[in-house]
């Protein structure tokens, strides 16, 4: 049972990571810096609860703000370049953050042992959950309520004017600019929203793994972050969790019985998925089809009592 709960935690946190990349991708920018924001959030939240003994929620809030602030700071210089140059710039930023934490040493002696981030050895003993008596189920519920909150916020944003503006910039920057949209402001705010979500997710990640290390936040995590929304499809916010479940649940955990061959299949399946469904698993067409199905079920459900009468 604990295994499945652990899997749910992983899926939840990775959904947050994917959603942070989803915001940026909506504006047509590919950012591989999400792992960097994630790392910033993880270290900030961990240091606040462990070294400053803050409660969890304010620590997560500060981590989210830190992620957003860093994203904003990166967004301004990085968004001067477009498209594929941005990919490179954000890859470099992510690596720079990773290397920063690789060299980051800030330990405090507490009760005979030294705690805090310690360079290449990472940051051990983030024991907020066990110290405060949270069971695994509590943690899962906490993670998923956070995911639900973020998804609801993004779903609502998608339906508001802000979402329309983001998508307009993503579809055609020039057209958006000529309707009077400040493209730079939109891009930087999308980056900042992504940074907030990634920092928040990173904070949760640091607490449920209890041990964070610079290796965890490398290019691989960054590519996973953009893999989720691209694979899931950008037409709806629900594509991202679908892709996380597909990758984390099916490809990584579900195929464990294949042993060594699983990893081979993993890259191959991503290539195959992109060849077969270049617009993602849940593209615009299937979203509309699902909506129709939903409406039909609703109509039928509404029709039943009349038939009984």
């Amino acid at each position: 049972m604990d295994f499945y709960l652990g899997l749910l935690q992983i899926i939840g946190v990775h959904t947050l990571l994917g959603l942070s990349a989803y915001c940026v991708l909506l504006t047509g920018q590919v950012s591989l810096a999400q792992a960097g924001f994630f790392a910033v959030g993880a270290y900030v939240a961990g240091m606040l609860t462990v070294l400053a003994a803050w409660p969890l929620v304010p620590a997560l809030a500060v981590a989210a703000i830190a992620g957003g602030a860093v994203a904003c700071a990166v967004g301004f210089p990085a968004l001067r370049v477009k498209g594929l140059m941005l990919v490179v710039a954000t890859v470099a930023f992510g690596e720079a953050v990773r290397l920063f934490f690789f060299n980051f040493d800030y330990q405090v002696a507490r009760g005979g042992i030294r705690i805090g981030p310690h360079g290449g050895e990472g940051f051990r003993q983030i024991r907020y959950f066990p110290e405060h008596g949270w069971s695994t189920l509590d943690v899962v519920l906490f993670v998923w309520s956070a995911v639900a909150l973020v998804m609801a916020a993004l779903w609502w944003m998608d339906r508001s004017r802000a979402g329309a503006v983001l998508r307009a910039v993503g579809e055609d920057e020039l057209a958006a600019q000529s309707t009077g949209i400040n493209v730079t402001a939109v891009k930087v705010s999308a980056m900042a929203i992504g940074g907030v979500i990634a920092g928040f997710g990173g904070g949760i990640f640091a607490h449920y793994t209890t041990h964070i290390e610079h290796v965890q936040f490398g290019v691989v995590l960054a590519t996973f972050a953009i893999a989720y929304p691209i694979l899931g499809g950008l037409s709806s916010v629900f594509g991202t969790p679908l892709a996380v479940i597909f990758i984390q649940g099916f490809l990584i955990e579900g195929l464990r019985f294949l042993g060594d061959w699983r990893n081979l299949l993993f890259g191959g399946l991503i290539v195959l998925a992109m060849n077969l469904r270049p617009r993602g698993l849940l593209d615009a067409g299937s979203t509309i089809a699902l909506k129709r199905l939903f409406v039909r079920i609703k109509e039928r459900a509404g029709a039943w009592p009349q038939r009984v009468d």
Partner: protein, 296 residues
């Protein structure tokens, strides 16, 4: 003391510049694909490392003399490049850059895993070709293997430039990179040119991979991610789509990297290279040799 320090500094820069030839070749690979298709092939460095692995395995299999490894690496690289094009580019609509980006990421993971799978993840020792040759020039000494890598890299770049600017194929490649539609109207097969570009970049990548193996004396699957990042940085510093830019940026990054390593140690080395990239993005977003004008 001061003079000795200066000598050491210059020595480390020189070593770095010599090794930078490999970065320059990787940067050229990224740049060529970008120039022709306006897409980034993230699996390129992994494919290069894969090609040098394959050449090493073939060499061990047929018991050929070690210098042949470069030729084999070039052939394997060309083959892998062609495969990359078919698998990750050919059947994905051109108008969808995200899908190609993702498929090359998938391919990066796939190639890495194939390497790990066939070699059980153990780093392979690379045949030492010129490691016992040391050229002394006054207080400085130049390592034979690095000199060899540099010379080979220069020959490759020269041949590539000749190919691009003196042959029909090069003309077609440049035409496609400038105006795909007009090129197609002139009877150039875009698919063919794109595929050939991937084969050529694959050959270059294979040689670069072999050169890296020869220069650091071993191959490891862990090389592919750092090399991807370095290759991308070189591409951006040089200016996307510019071959001379990639060459100069490669040598620059190689030299500075070794300099930072000399002063600040190996763990902080890459951090400064990233900062250098940001400096370039802020002050010269187009890179050293930006494309002259926006073309449509």
């Amino acid at each position: 003391m001061n003079i000795l320090d200066a000598i050491d500094t210059i020595q480390s820069i020189a070593d770095g510049v010599l090794f930078g030839a490999t970065y320059a070749l990787l940067g050229i690979g990224f740049t060529l694909v970008f120039g022709v298709m306006h897409k980034i092939n993230l699996s390129y460095a992994a494919a290069s490392v894969g090609a040098s692995y394959a050449s090493l395995l073939i060499l061990a299999g047929i018991k050929a003399p070690p210098p042949l490894v470069f030729l084999l690496a070039a052939i394997c690289g060309g083959f892998i490049g062609g495969m990359v094009y078919i698998v990750a580019f050919r059947f994905i609509p051109l108008a969808n850059p995200l899908a190609t980006l993702m498929s090359t990421v998938g391919l990066l993971l796939l190639i890495d895993e194939i390497i790990v799978h066939t070699t059980a993840g153990v780093p392979l020792a690379y045949p030492a070709l010129f490691s016992d040759v040391i050229i002394r020039a006054g207080p400085f000494s130049l390592r034979g293997d690095l000199m060899f890598v540099f010379v080979l890299g220069c020959i490759c770049m020269m041949l590539l430039l000749l190919l691009l600017y003196r042959t029909k194929l090069g003309l077609a490649t440049r035409a496609v990179s400038q105006q795909p539609v007009a090129a197609e109207l002139c009877g150039i097969s875009i698919t063919g040119v794109n595929g050939l570009t991937f084969v050529i970049t694959g050959v270059v990548g294979g040689i670069a991979g072999a050169m890296i193996g020869a220069a650091i004396g071993m191959l490891s699957p862990l090389l592919s991610l750092p090399l991807t990042v370095k290759g991308l940085i070189v591409t951006v510093i040089g200016g996307l789509g510019s071959i001379p830019g990639a060459i100069i940026a490669g040598l620059l990054v190689g030299g500075l990297e070794n300099l930072f390593q000399f002063f600040r140690g190996v763990s902080e080395r890459d951090l400064y290279i990233m900062l250098l990239l940001f400096v370039f993005l802020v002050f010269r977003p187009g890179g050293l040799f930006a494309a002259s004008a926006e073309r449509d």
